[in-house]
Amino acid sequence: SQQGEEDPQALSIQEGENATMNCSYKTSINNLQWYRQNSGRGLVHLILIRSNEREKHSGRLRVTLDTSKKSSSLLITASRAADTASYFCATEREFRDDKIIFGKGTRLHILP
């Protein structure tokens, strides 16, 4: 069964606006990761947040983690056309030997 569930499934925003995607998961985790996928190609790692961290930044990306609610959010600020992609959250579950389990993803479309 899949661990993560992203929300919304699809999102369209104007270039320059901020995009927020959410992820909920079911079991205790070691860490949560966000990945990007362009046009059905391989996934690229964006950012990892550990279970004892609450917020992390990387360039225009901001990730938060609330372990009490079993949820995370990814904020992309000042969006660009090149941000158009699918975004997936993935969890490394606690006590599960490094398995990385993905959600269904959010399709983000940046409008010019």
Partner: protein
């Protein structure tokens, strides 16, 4: 530049054929993964290997097997391909050194079973 390479980008096979999907990584990673990706279902883990000759079933192992004879190579085998195995297959690897490490992905193999 780190790399995970899948042997084919596109593959067309007939129902009942035995199919091999190959994946090679050059990062000396211990962990290797096979996922399949279908529209609306995201990535689902088929099999996971944490060392040579070691494997664990993922969420959807039925109809698949794997082989890890060398650390850098992880093969996914469809014993008798069926049309419901038409999908995008993604291989990934990650390190066990320290906790909390990212996965690196190959470019994917789009398999069509006719």
């Amino acid at each position: 530049d780190v790399k995970v390479t899948q042997s084919s980008r596109y593959l067309v096979k007939r129902t009942g054929e035995k199919v091999f999907l190959e994946c090679v990584q050059d990062m000396d990673h211990e962990n290797m993964f096979w996922y399949r990706q279908d529209p609306g279902l995201g990535l689902r883990l088929i099999y996971f290997s944490y060392d040579v000759k070691m494997k664990e079933k993922g969420d959807i192992p039925e109809g698949y097997s794997v082989s890890r004879e060398k650390k850098e190579r992880f093969s996914l085998i469809l014993e008798s391909a069926s049309t419901n195995q038409t999908s995008m297959y993604l291989c990934a690897s990650s390190s066990r050194q320290g906790k909390n490490t990212e996965a690196f992905f190959g470019q994917g193999t789009r398999l069509t079973v006719v």
